[in-house]
Amino acid sequence: MRHSFQHRHAGVLLAALAWSTGAHALGFDEPRALLELSLEQLGDVEVTAASRRATRLTETAASVHVIHGDDLRRLGIRSLPEALRLAPNLHVARINAAGYAVSARGLKTSLSNKLLVMVDGRPVYTPLFAGVLWDMQTVPIEDVERIEVVSGPGAAAWGANAVNGVINVVLRPAAQTDGGFAGGWASEDGHGVSAAQTVAAGERGAVRLYGKHDRWSRSESAAGAPVADGWSQRQAGFRGQWRSGGDDLRVQGEAFEGESSDRPFGAVRAHGHHLLARWTRATGDAGQWTLQGYVDVVDRLDPLIIDDRMTISALEFAREASFGDHRLAWGLGYRHARDESRAGLLARLIPAERTLEWAHAYLQDQIAVSARMTVELGLRLDSNRYTGVEALPTARFAWRGENHTLVWGALSRAVRSPARFDRDVHFPANEPYLIRGGPDFRAETSDVAEFGYRAQPLDWLSVSITGFHHWHDGLRAGIGAPQGGVFISNGVEGRTYGVEGWATARVPGEWEVALGVLELRHRLERMPGFSGANSIRDQGNDPEHQVLLRASRRLGERQQVSLFARHVGALPDPFVPSYAQLDARWSVNAGNGFAFGVGARNLLDERHAELDPVSGLPQSVFGRSLYVDARLEW
């Protein structure tokens, strides 16, 4: 079912989120906008790391939730997926010890593929299946400045794959760090240690060196049997920053290796490294340009599924500038990947080796129509080896009222372009194949309408609510192949719609309470000619409701108590019952840089599963676990 607006608006330029941070500038008259803020509101002004330009989240015409690094540390968060649980516009399900599925706006599977996830501007989703292998994504939590979570399409700014959302993890720039720390955590389900140190690098620069080791113990099945899903990972890296006048140069690199516990067909092993350089220059037209390049190599050996070595190199240029009432952003980029695979027991890629390449160009214009109204128009052209050029348009508006009220709306088109697992995969690894990659598989398309309201009715209270409706076309499904088995093709269409909202009440330095609610519905159907029984089920397994509640309270000057509760509705197919989880942590700042905390996860001890795995392992359940953590800063 294709809707008329998707044709009519295909050529409409779209607007999007600001390059590099997802947040917008205060406005065209920055000094006046700053001075109109109350003292309390000045505390909400964000100084973005990339542009050093003051920005306010409340001005962004998109559903954006920001998780602050402090919130992670208050709650004793240990991994990136655990951190993402704090975002009310995401659904995060733990599959096993270190495996997670993360989705925004639904269509969640353990191989979810419609999110664009970036760590400091570097995409971490693999072109193998256009999704993220979460067990390998370890970030130094102590150095996370914030995580920006945009639900809904960010395709006009970020390109293909940003269909249902964009996650950008921003680490503290080296020059904003000082000294170092050593810390660790120990729990019934694992342990970890990490350390970092900042060293001066010339008069204008600093380099943050860090290392980390985490071990996640095996989980258990509902019957109490151990599951061979343990995972341990070591990584070390550096982030360098040099500033001079309006120039900001970042160079960062990291290497990691990880392995699972022994499995019946052999352990999964992974190792990789990346090196990234980014040069940003502030320009005289109230803008900036950014030039970024990186090389990323990941080798993952999975004897059961597939061995794969992906080498990606990319070069991107982005420019922002203001001319009168127009704020322009445009950019270009090229990405090249060499993929070398070896068949596992269950799957094979044909051809085993393939070169992939992508290029993009985009232009966005944010127009101040009046003092209160801005309209954003933009278009991004994204090209890939499989389907050629895809056009990704968006049109957005934002109207600013009293008390920092923002009413916004957007119409966007986003695509998930084909990955190796759509075109080249064969299952099992040897003939006769039951599933073959589809030679004609085209991009999955989503046309999205969003409408949002955001306000700060009181200095200490902010609220955000967004309604959304996605029309999907050509979702992945199987169709009978002449040789037997099925081809992967574009066989499902339908709608996803719902509401997401959150409210935060905060008295600076004392207490903070945040509530988040997500309601989500699907209406999916097979396209003509498709009859596969699993086609609908394979699209995703999402709860209809989710409620998050987070609270933290300072006790005197040194102690703090934090609580995090979530209720997740039942998953329909395969059925996973609804569950409630309560985490709590008490922490003490003992002075001289030493802090420690004790806490419990799943305090209610409701042992529950969160999603069915597809890794060939049994379903894991998670119960209560106690932990301690400590950190010494200098």
């Binding site: 920055e30 000094p31 006046r32 700053l34 001075l35 803020l37 003292l39 309390e40 000045l42 505390g43 909400d44 002004v45 964000e46 100084v47 973005t48 790391a49 050093r52 330009r53 003051a54 602050h68 690094g69 402090d70 400045e145 914030r146 904003q176 006048g245 309006g246 120039d247 220059r281 502030a282 320009t283 005289g284 109230a286 340009w289 030039l291 070069l315 240029f317 420019r319 270009l332 980029g333 090229y334 390449e357 290029a359 993009h360 160009a361 052209l381 090209s383 890939n384 080896r385 389907t387 050629g388 050029v389 600076p508 330095g509 000057e557 040194r558 703090q560 700042n589 002075g591 802090a595």
Partner: protein, 198 residues
Amino acid sequence: MVKRRAHRLLCIATAALAAIACACTVGAQPRAVDETSVHAAYAINFLRYARWPADAAAGPLVVAVVGPADTAATFRTLVRTAGPVDGRAVTVRAVPVNVAAPDRRDAARALRTRLQGAHLVYVAPSHEAWQPAVIEATAQQPTITVGTGADFVARGGMFGFQQDRGRVRFTADAARIATARIDMSARVLRLARPAGGG
């Protein structure tokens, strides 16, 4: 196929345009816009919420900026935009000094006349070495001292800015403000973080 040909064309065009873009923009002039603007906005709010003793209660309000010229320029832009505070004009006095500070006593002596009559002194982050001298030079004066870094208030300053979670927060020493005979609104002091609190 047309789309594939378009893909090849876009790859080539991207490479060519990237080269042109780099060549065109390398010459662009840097523009120093950073959290200084937010500091300046806070400083103006401190002026708005302060009441001065009789000997400092007339004439224009003077904001002295110890730091680079572009920091003073940022303050001037905001002060000009803000207009008068409580019916009093606000002027910005740049106090250009070298980044390296001399011995504290010499530095304080050098600053004393330049900070004479200032209602608020802001010490730029690049000039942190001058903080002790600024504090000494304004001791017992009805002058609000504002600086950056975790130690500014501990050193004897009144308001210290720090970046936290990408936002600008401040600590304050209410007792020192009162000692300087400045009546600062509780609204400001309530927002201040406890100095050194965890």
